[in-house]
Symmetry: C2
Subunit: 315 residues, 2 copies
């Protein structure tokens, strides 16, 4: 059995895999793209040109992250019998923490205070930097997967008023939390204090938070994007941050990544930006590779894989 | 009955008090210091020179904040029968949020990303800015009053390993939380990932986190100070931040406030600083004045006051 790995699997991870599964031959598709011709499986976000070199031997593609939008953008792969899995669940606590980091950076003015530290400036209390709080605010989480649920759980402890939306049938996921079908999005926007976008990027979610929905948000609301770009209309968001209709926004993901130096978002006020790093801790990588190793074990043993994705739904 | 108010009570708050209690004569001690001669009560952090002008009529001093360290620094007041109350409980969710803002600013590198935004610099993932997480970390909260408990509650939702220390007898305050007597401080330090100092400033807590205790912390630990200055040894903290023994610190309170522009803390690396603003939201002020109004009502009616402090213990 042969498994090709993408650039997501560095040399030390590859060595660990090879040691754990001596009966499998692992090969780096980055070093030798032709190795995929003999591959039964591919680990990583398989690029279209690499997928084009694969043969009928390919039965499994495993994304080491949670998003599979680049994988399901390959029509031949979607149409095939190849099983796609991901590492969903590995990232939830880390992305939830990042969501709170972005929300608290806005309410607690952390960017301004970081600048004040550089300037040795003690911004006396109440002098022009009004702080805000999360306590009692209405939080709308769009997408109640593992990440959305981890955010909700933390938000309840922060004594927020939490509403989740999901394409799945509504269910009582946890005490004190309302989960509604996605159709409620438009009616929820006008009472939302903080909107968190936690859905995967799919055909249905592309431009989901468009200009009209951004304009439908309550004045003074905040918007947080932590799943993928191309879901929130960046130009419409920037317009409402410039004119002050929105109190703030926090983005970890962008339509274009890496964001070029001349992008208009950099100079948008009331915006906290991080470079798609929400899940980025060594512990997250360890958890991703635990799931990956377990799936390799299952693949070798012919057992059902964990985290099988719906290639049409896109997650 | 006459009640004098300090500078903490602005004109609109004073007008609201007067309207709520027409039977009481309210007077501003800032505008007319001599008004306290006829005062039955004083609302605010009474200055020693104002207290010196009071007469035997004074029976009650009410701090509109939580800390009473300046009030109990007046020996005549401590020795007298004057009852001291505060607004403890009003601030807990807000100071707890600020504690998380400081912790997440450190683990999520928010100061660096704020600078990157100014520079239009997209710091590609994994390139020299390793992120950390709160998940699974051991959090030691010194001081389990309202604020300590609010931090603990949120930390449990963040899946942290939470230990609280308090001078009160240990008790099971909430599920999953260990509360130990303060004597355990030294043994706890060496296994602590994040130390949060949430005790009031009293004779017992002055310089509680001294140089030897800072040096006893596990390498890579973080320190958060959100109650009062003069509890953490700032010079010892700065030394361990400069040499990298500590991974980071977040301070909202300082031995000297406002912190002068030439203070050594401004240029201390790995330090996130905010200007004693943790409780500072309009909602906090509303909650403080709700407690204050209720205590005025009780004082007028001769009922027991809320939040009576122990003037010797200092909280």
């Amino acid at each position: 059995m042969q498994i090709a790995v993408g650039k997501e699997v560095d040399d030390s991870r590859l060595a660990a895999m090879q040691a754990a599964f001596p009966e499998v031959t692992f090969a780096s598709a980055e070093k030798d793209p032709d190795c995929v011709r003999d591959a039964d499986a591919y680990i990583g976000r398989i690029p279209a040109e690499i997928h084009a070199r694969c043969t009928d031997r390919l039965r499994w593609v495993h994304a080491t992250g949670a998003g599979i939008e680049t994988i399901i953008a390959i029509p031949e792969l979607v149409a095939s019998d190849v099983v796609v899995t991901n590492t969903r669940g590995a990232h939830a606590p880390f992305v939830a923490e990042h969501t709170f980091a972005l929300m608290l950076a806005l309410t607690r003015r952390l960017s301004e205070f970081a600048r004040d530290k550089q300037d040795h400036h003690y911004h006396a209390y109440g002098r022009g930097l009004p702080l805000d709080s999360l306590y009692g605010k209405r939080l709308l989480i769009v997408g109640m997967g593992n990440i959305g649920r981890a955010i909700a759980n933390r938000a309840l402890a922060f004594e927020m008023d939490v509403v989740g939306l999901d394409v799945m049938a509504p269910e009582q996921i946890m005490d004190g939390l309302t989960v509604l079908p996605m159709e409620h999005l438009d009616t929820e926007l006008e009472t939302t204090d903080i909107l968190v976008v936690a859905v995967p990027l799919t055909a249905e979610t592309t431009n989901l938070i468009d200009a009209s929905r951004i304009d439908a948000l309550k004045p003074g609301a905040m918007v947080i994007g932590i799943s993928r770009g191309n879901i929130i209309d960046e130009a419409a968001l920037a317009k409402r941050l410039h004119d002050g209709t929105l109190a703030g926004a926090g983005l970890d993901v962008y339509a274009e990544e890496p964001l070029p130096p001349d992008h208009m978002l950099w100079d948008t006020p009331r915006l906290v930006m991080t470079p798609h790093c929400a899940p980025g801790t060594p512990l997250t990588r360890d958890r991703e590779f635990e799931i990956t190793h377990e799936n390799i074990r299952r693949f070798v043993a012919g057992e059902p894989l964990l985290n099988v994705c719906d290639k049409v739904a896109g997650f």
